[in-house]
Amino acid sequence: MNDAKSSMILIGIGGAGSAAARGVSRAFGPGLRYVLADTDAATGAEGEPFVLLGGDRLAGRGSGGDIPMARLAAEDSRDAIDETLDGARLAVVVACLGGGTGTGATLAVARHLRERGIPSIVFATIPFEFEGAGRRQNATGIMSSIATEASSSIFLPLDRLVAGEDNMESAMKRAVDTLASGITLFWRMVERPGYIRLDPERVRRIVANAEGGRFAVATAQGPDRAAEVVDALSRSPLLAAGNTPARSILCGILAGEDLRLSEVGRVAEGVKAAFGRSANFDLATVNDEATFSGRLSVVVFLFESGIRKDDDVSGGSADAPRLRRQRRPRNPLAQGPQGRGRFNNVEPTINDSGVDLDTPTYLRQGVTLDA
């Protein structure tokens, strides 16, 4: 069921991405606006909003792990995707990288969203170690390209998502569940706010200006639940600091009617202390007695760069052209589509340090040429 009033849309790409999006929809309940997209016609169930990618090209039989093919399939189906995007002002994309559609189509969709001027946040998982070097390379190879196209992207290595699980099938399922619950909480924060409200436009601004991201969820019960949650979050491998400190923190507190003011304070203080006081901090609460009775769930998003503290957010209308102008290469390693020329539609050549070797060398090395 799509809620026409919602300006936020969830897009699940590929078989596993669709499963995750379906999980979010189930957990969130009616009112979530979402669409599934896959090259395999079998993914879309009866009555579900579903876009078949690359109808003529692949005849609905999946991409067979062929990344360039999946990317072209998604490009074929741009119009069909567009029909589902009517009025959307923020897109959340969920996909599992490594396979054909999850890897190739995600890049194409992220690019399309950027071209349409719709800010996007991509949640993408990196395959387990045991899935083999090939799938992992597929995933890591495309990361920098997705990061360039998406407004912000959160890459979740499955190994970290479900560390310690031994059974493969349950590990997969738990990974998808964790991903889905994270996105569900994000959604609730924005669309079912409690006493502290997070303006959807504000979220849109944060996402549109953010870059590399991380997220984690922790839940606890009992009298010390606030302290336990903060402790779990600060030790979460998913939030383990990269080289870049977080510039922007989005913190959601989800609880029942018994949420105490002191707990909100403790969580906010603990999260700030753990992930950087100088970062821009946004807090939201969700009060849902039915779901969270007695429990306290906290979801934390860290973005490596974002709007500055003193940024004017009152206007809240970051129009599309401005979004694009504000984008500049975040590091020399991910220069994006610039100079790719004839390699625009093929799988990029990314070296071990994440450099896109398809971009002209002289450009990457900043060498000036005589006229």
């Binding site: 360039p68 072209l72 090939g134 020329g341 390699f343 093929v346 799988e347 002289y362």
Partner: protein, 400 residues
């Protein structure tokens, strides 16, 4: 008996088909070869099966035309596939077995070879080759032939060369449409090595650099066997693309500049004239000139980077200083001016071009380096797949 083979390469720049024949135990002769420019291939991957099929059909017609001239009449029913591209990976795998009895006998060797082939590969991976490197017996490594030696645990080190299965299947589909059944896929760089290297070079340590249009493959030999190999997804197309971006030209104009004017090495100007002519992309476009210095800089930076990647990789694998016989350049990139000097500078070793001297029949070919891989594939097939009477014949019809 005379054995006949065919090999097909669907490259980024060109599609090549060749046939060869050899009597058992004798030198192989390339009887016919043809090439046409590829379409629908980028970075060694087929992006459009229809276009690839058309290329294969064209090259088949070309072969038939040449056969008419020589009076041969063969229908090529199947061919080996020469494969390159950044999906090719080579990784070590060791087989082990317990020696039955006191000394290693043929059964033990058979068993360890079987064990070395038992590595379970993921479904989406296609095996190109398992190269046997050397045996080890207990703590003793580097044994060439362990038969008759005493020990308990027999080991066999291998290098397993794989690629993405879908890519090979796409080639199979394209060739199938042109009525050629593809036999095993073979790795371009080791094929090239097969046709250009001498056994003494392989013992002394040597590097084959196969400079393709969409990717660059290398294979390093030491002690007589393949020590390591890899492919980097950067090739001649990248040079062209860089030129096109730097001077705002079409890909065709950039290709022309690369072939006629550019030099990979800054120290060896091909032409004293400081500017290169660039004719208009259409008759209505004005001709202009570009700075040769800038042109060479763009090309040099790109290839220097490529060879630096390879040098670092060789260094990491502790191979660089062991390649005493130097580097051998094969592939279409060998035709680029100054490439030899650049490789010598960047890898710090002697360099020569790799002509397919281990086969006959290509002596009159002007750019024989670019046929090294396909000739090597025929040779490899001859060494490893010698036709037996119970094999289906490669060709639908035999000579005459």
């Amino acid at each position: 008996m005379t054995n006949i083979y065919a090999a097909l390469e669907i490259g980024t720049t060109r599609t090549v088909l060749a046939t060869g024949e050899a009597k058992t135990g004798e030198r192989l002769r390339v009887t016919c070869h043809a090439e046409i420019p590829s379409t629908g291939v980028r970075k060694s991957q087929i992006l459009d099966i229809n276009q690839a099929t058309q290329s294969i059909k064209s090259v088949l017609r070309e072969i038939e035309r040449k056969q008419e001239e020589t009076g041969d009449s063969l229908t090529i029913a199947n061919a080996f596939l020469v494969v390159s591209g950044q999906h090719v990976k080579a990784f070590p795998f060791q087989g082990t077995t317990q020696v039955e009895g006191q000394r290693v006998d043929d059964d033990d060797i058979e068993e360890v070879r079987r064990a070395a082939r038992s590595n379970a590969l993921p479904k989406d991976v296609e095996l190109l080759d398992i190269v046997e490197q050397s045996y080890g017996l207990d703590a003793l490594p580097g044994i060439v032939s362990p038969k008759g030696m005493s020990g308990h645990i027999l080991k066999l080190d291998t290098l397993q060369i794989t690629t993405n299965k879908n890519l090979v299947d796409n080639a199979r589909t394209a060739a199938g449409e042109a009525h050629i059944e593809l036999r095993d896929p073979l790795f371009a760089a080791t094929c090239a090595a097969e046709s250009v290297l001498s056994e003494s070079e392989m013992r002394d340590g040597v590097l084959v650099l196969d400079l393709g249009g969409g990717s660059t493959g290398w294979a390093a030999y030491d002690d007589g066997y393949l020590a390591a190999a890899d492919v980097i997804g950067v090739g001649g197309d990248h040079v062209t693309n860089d030129i096109s971006y730097a001077f705002q030209t079409t890909q065709a104009q950039a290709e022309m500049l690369k072939r006629k004017d550019a030099s990979a090495s800054l120290s060896s100007p091909a032409d004293p004239s400081p500017r290169a002519n660039l004719f208009g992309s259409s008759p209505l476009m004005e001709a202009r000139t570009v700075s040769r210095r800038s042109l060479d800089t763009v090309v040099n930076l790109r290839l220097k980077e490529l060879f630096t990647i390879i040098r670092n990789d060789l260094e990491d694998r502790d191979l660089l200083h062991r390649l005493n016989a130097g580097a051998v350049i094969t592939g279409g990139g060998a035709a680029l001016y100054g490439i030899k000097d650049l490789v010598r500078q960047e890898l710090g070793m002697p360099v020569r071009f790799g002509l397919p001297v281990n086969v006959d029949g290509l002596e009159n070919e002007q750019h024989a380096e670019s046929f090294a891989a396909i000739a090597g594939a025929l040779l490899y097939a001859h060494k490893n797949y010698e036709e037996k009477s119970f094999f289906p014949s490669i060709f639908g019809r035999f000579f005459k």
